[in-house]
């Protein structure tokens, strides 16, 4: 059989938010006329789905529907600092701070209603666009509650800041690297199943099982989307992508030469979401954007070895490299066989 299958696995770990420095973010929240929520924070969507995650968090904390959350963002002159969109930090740094700001805005509104209804603040609940006092007949819409607050001269707003308790590491001359680079760590593991064509050298990754700790999944579909996209980017690096240079000039200046994974190259990705809540932040969330890419390449290389007994040490594992390695292995095996015969 020219086509051989195999499986490999690899584990991984990753740190959430900025590395070896203090990370921080801020947000403003307002429960607006009509009972919608307005969130302002200085960072936006880079495709990962953070706007939806923030809408869900604000909706959950304030007690409105996600579609009634408006997010104003991404402007250094109009929004508080939320630092940058990277380092797998969005859900952790911005999600947590939006939760805190939302709680403060909600508290303002709850205090007004508690006074109006002569009910203890702890008995006031919100959800699904309504606010009520437990064990009473008091129940009105959030929009009505906002109007009540404004009639009493209160605009229900909140703001918050969230920072990490982290340090640099001792990486100066003679240093040992000691330090507290992150306060939240995530762990993961993947298995890859591949098929190697020993005639053409082509490797197909048919399936990946990917288990990743995300602390708490705000939007499971979004988490899967990150895992699926990350795994496929990693497969690109494992098998085909290569930015090549010759004397300082690239020889791969376009997508005709720089080969990317297409719909035909992708495995079935089976995501398993693990929730080990972060004990520090208010929500228990961590992150997934980058960690999901880390174990894929070694899992694929281990699977190729399992299939054909050839290990690729130098990425990418192109068909040419696989064929060369197979020939090399055949020569080695033949030499061993001759030795054994002698």
């Amino acid at each position: 059989m020219a086509r051989k299958r195999g499986r490999g696995m690899a584990a991984s770990w990753y740190g959430i938010a900025r590395t070896a420095t203090v990370d921080r973010s801020a947000a403003w929240a307002e429960i607006d006329d009509g009972g919608s929520a307005k969130i302002v924070t200085g960072v936006t969507e880079i495709g990962e789905g953070i706007l939806t995650v923030l809408a869900q968090i604000a909706a959950h904390e304030i007690g409105v529907k996600p579609e009634h959350v408006v997010i104003g963002d991404n402007d250094t002159a109009r929004a508080p600092e939320a630092a940058h969109a990277g380092a797998s930090r969005q859900t952790y740094m911005i999600g947590n701070v939006v939760a805190l700001a939302s709680r403060e805005a909600k508290k303002r509104l709850v205090d007004v209603m508690a006074e109006m209804w002569s009910a203890p603040a702890e008995s006031i609940r919100t959800g699904n666009g309504e606010i009520w006092a437990e064990n009473t007949n008091h129940r009105i819409t959030m929009g009505e509650a906002v109007a009540c607050a404004k009639n009493r001269g209160v605009v229900p707003i909140g703001s918050a800041t969230f920072g990490t308790n982290t340090t640099g590491i001792a990486d100066g001359k003679g240093g040992d690297g000691a330090g507290r680079p992150w306060q939240a760590y995530v762990f993961g593991c993947q298995v890859a199943e591949v098929e190697v064509d020993t005639v053409t050298g082509e490797v197909q990754v048919l399936a990946v099982w990917a288990a990743h700790d995300v602390g708490r999944a705000v939007n499971p579909q979004g988490v899967e989307g990150q895992i699926e996209g990350g795994v496929v980017q990693a497969i690109g690096q494992a098998l085909m992508e290569d930015y090549e240079m010759k004397n300082g000039h690239t020889t791969t200046p376009g997508f005709a030469k720089y080969i990317l994974p297409t719909s035909l190259d992708v495995p079935r990705v089976n995501s398993i979401i693990i929730e080990d809540p972060d004990p520090i932040g208010p929500l228990g969330v961590k992150g997934i954007g980058e960690p999901c890419m880390v174990p894929t390449i070694p899992a694929v290389m281990n699977a190729i070895y399992d299939a054909i007994g050839v290990r690729v040490f130098d990425l990418p594992a192109t068909p040419e490299k696989i064929l060369m390695a197979i020939r090399e292995k055949e020569r080695r095996d033949a030499a061993v066989a001759i030795q054994a015969a002698e």
């Binding site: 299958r5 499986r7 490999g8 696995m9 690899a10 584990a11 770990w13 590395t19 969507e45 880079i46 495709g47 809408a55 909706a59 959950h60 579609e67 997010i71 402007d75 250094t76 940058h84 380092a87 240093g175 000691a178 760590y185 762990f187 593991c189 298995v191 053409t200 990917a210 288990a211 700790d213 708490r216 579909q221 979004g222 899967e224 989307g225 895992i227 699926e228 996209g229 795994v231 496929v232 930015y243 090549e244 004397n247 300082g248 000039h249 376009g254 997508f255 720089y258 719909s263 035909l264 992708v266 079935r268 080990d276 929500l283 174990p295 390449i297 070694p298 281990n302 399992d306 040490f313």
Partner: protein, 625 residues
């Protein structure tokens, strides 16, 4: 060249307009008709973001001269959601979470629409083949296939249309639910404006002059001829920078435009703002530069040797950053080990290949605030750096983050925003710059290529006693994120394992190659590739199942990391168990068991494909062209 008079039916309306004959259909749609839903991801027929229907046939409009659309019926993404009501397929993309950055999505929706028109009953494998000409860098395609299958089933009545509706959150529990993405409708309909889709009245177009040399002294720059050209408003070089020039995430070693010397091919040297992009391009060609080539250095190991060409004077050894991690005594650990394995690994440079090439606008507002609109992943830091570079207080610098059509770390660097700000200040007009795909590839950061030597010592029972790793990375011509990448790579290099003796050294090195920078998983990918490959080599030698080997060494709750940090809960054992179970892993040592495994080809494995048996839609498409 005389204009042609184009008569066509575009999104159901008769259009009769003069058009420049050199235009591609894509330019005509986007620039002349302001139908910016379809994007230019590559301009070379490779990515599919520009896909439209011409007389009902899916076409890449970047390959089609506008004259070919004479008399044709052209439908763009804007035609699908007439009066705001999305098509079933668009709703399915929304429901399935099929859009991430969204930049590929208009083209993808067009291709998927074509697929279901061609075969309303197409199965998943056929759908994949029919989408083969459209690249998505974000999603891994899976949710896109899900969306097309959902739309197919709704259209065929196999699934009720209610399957497209929002997840119910009436129980008040919103966290943990698959709430539909709030940005998806704007993405699947092509309504979202990325920086390259935005226009401002009186806007000038910017083009950049780039270095053809990897390392050369700039003897002189003569911009007279360019400046004299009609339609050219301004030409800038590093001489126009009013403040302290230099940006970078860790060291500010990169000038807005090359100063005194160039350090890599593609480095910006001058920029032109003109009434249109073509004039700006011609003006760039009219700038005269005299270079004095310098000896270059391309190999990071050579760059570390004495006598190598020096890329930056401040770093005569060409070391951007070295990060050490030390735990215990590795030599003693190796001496105690039953088995010591040493191997070398290397990884290549990787292009981010976000589908949205760099683009941005800048203007000076009514309060003299220099404003830059761009898909920047780090507006906070960019405004700090730009304020210093243009010598303005921070309150007079404003960054607005436009929707990011894919970043992956590649848009963390302030590569072009400085040029835009300077040109806006000089001309007092809005300016816009849109990179071509080639420009994006040659001039922006890559994932660090790496060379790693890894030595590991283990006991017969699998316990790792010692790990020593040395990784050298090509950081290219400028520092960008190299320091941070080396740090994260080192901290995470030994994997999530309790190892008593560890020595890790990562080096980021300057060369005259394209700079390396931030890229999703930031160094950890390179180091853990080595560690996890080596663990399987060890497992084979010990005759041990690879899961078992990892379990034996796994950090547990309360572990101390290699940076001597005590951490709380460690979910590694759960991740190992979950993967082992979900994949139905058959235990055994990794001794080339592939041919005899009993756990292959489950239901959750896709079928393999055979080259040549795929029918290709692109064949039909070419025939139609």
């Amino acid at each position: 060249m005389v204009d042609i008079q184009l008569n066509a039916t575009i999104n159901g309306r008769n259009v009769s307009r003069a058009a420049k004959p050199h235009l591609r259909l894509l330019d005509f749609l986007r620039d002349d008709l302001n139908l910016t839903g379809n994007k230019e991801g590559c301009g070379a027929g490779e990515c599919g973001t520009c896909s439209v229907f011409v007389d009902g046939v899916l076409m890449k409009s970047c390959l089609m001269p506008v004259a070919k659309a004479q008399g044709a019926q052209v439908d763009t993404i804007e035609s699908l959601a007439k009066s705001g009501e999305m098509s079933v397929l668009q709703k399915a993309f929304h429901k399935a979470g099929a859009s991430q950055c969204g930049y590929c999505i208009p083209g993808m929706v067009m291709a998927a629409t074509a697929a279901l028109r061609a075969n309303p009953f197409a199965d998943r494998e056929e759908i994949k083949e029919r989408l083969g000409g459209n690249i998505c860098r974000c999603t891994g395609y899976q949710k896109i296939f899900d969306a097309v299958e959902l739309a197919r089933d709704v259209q065929n009545g196999r699934v009720p249309a209610t399957a497209l509706l929002e997840t119910d959150t009436a129980d008040g529990d919103v966290i943990g639910k698959n709430v539909r993405r709030i940005d998806a409708p704007s993405k699947v309909s092509g309504r979202l404006k990325y920086a390259g889709d935005m226009i401002m009245p009186g806007m000038l177009h910017v083009q950049v002059l780039r270095s053809p040399h990897p390392h050369a002294r700039i003897v002189s720059i003569d911009t007279t001829a360019a400046l004299a050209m009609e339609g050219v408003e301004s030409v800038i070089t590093s001489a126009d920078v009013p403040g302290q020039d230099g940006f970078g995430v860790f060291v500010h070693d990169q000038p807005i435009m090359a100063r005194d010397k160039v350090r890599y091919v593609g480095e910006a040297i001058a920029a032109v703002a003109a009434e249109d992009a073509l004039t700006a391009k011609r003006a760039v060609a009219a700038i005269k530069i005299v270079y004095e080539p310098l000896p270059p250095v391309f190999d990071p190991d050579e760059a570390m040797q004495p006598g190598a060409a020096i890329v930056h004077d401040y770093a005569p050894d060409n070391i951007t950053k070295h990060i050490p991690i030390r735990v215990g005594d590795v030599e003693a650990g190796f001496a105690q080990s039953d088995l010591v394995i040493e191997e070398s690994y290397s990884t290549q440079a990787i292009e981010h290949a976000y589908l949205e090439p760099e683009a941005g606008l800048a203007y000076v507002d009514h309060d003299d605030v220099v404003t830059v609109v761009s898909p920047s992943q780090n507006i906070t830091h960019h405004r700090h750096m730009l304020a210093r570079i243009i010598a303005k207080p921070i309150s007079k610098v404003r960054f607005i983050m436009s929707p990011v059509g894919g970043g992956f770390g590649g848009k963390e660097d302030m590569i072009y925003q400085g040029m835009l700000a300077l040109l806006a200040m000089k001309t007092m007009r809005p300016v816009r710059l849109v990179y071509t795909r080639e420009e994006s590839i040659i001039s922006t950061a890559k994932r660090h290529p790496s060379r790693t030597t890894l030595r590991m010592g283990v006991m017969k029972d699998g316990r790792i006693r010692a790990l020593a790793m040395r990784m050298v990375c090509d950081g290219g011509a400028y520092g960008l994120s190299t320091e941070g990448v080396m740090r994260k790579a080192a901290i995470l290099a030994a994997g999530p394992y309790a190892i008593p003796n560890v020595r890790i050294d990562t080096y980021g090195i300057y060369t005259n190659n394209t700079p390396s920078g931030a890229f999703r998983s930031f160094g950890a990918l390179q180091t853990q590739f080595a560690t996890e490959s080596q663990l399987d080599i060890i497992a084979e030698r010990l005759g041990m199942d690879p899961f078992e080997l990892r379990r034996i060494n796994a950090m547990r709750d309360g572990a101390t990391t290699h940076t001597k940090q005590k951490i709380g809960s460690v979910s590694l054992m759960r991740a190992l168990e979950a993967t082992e179970q979900a994949s139905g892993w058959e235990a055994g040592a990794p001794t080339v068991r592939g041919p005899t495994r009993g756990d292959l080809n489950h239901d959750d494995v896709r079928p393999s494909v055979t080259l040549g048996t795929r029918f290709t839609d692109s064949a039909n498409q070419e025939a139609a062209e």
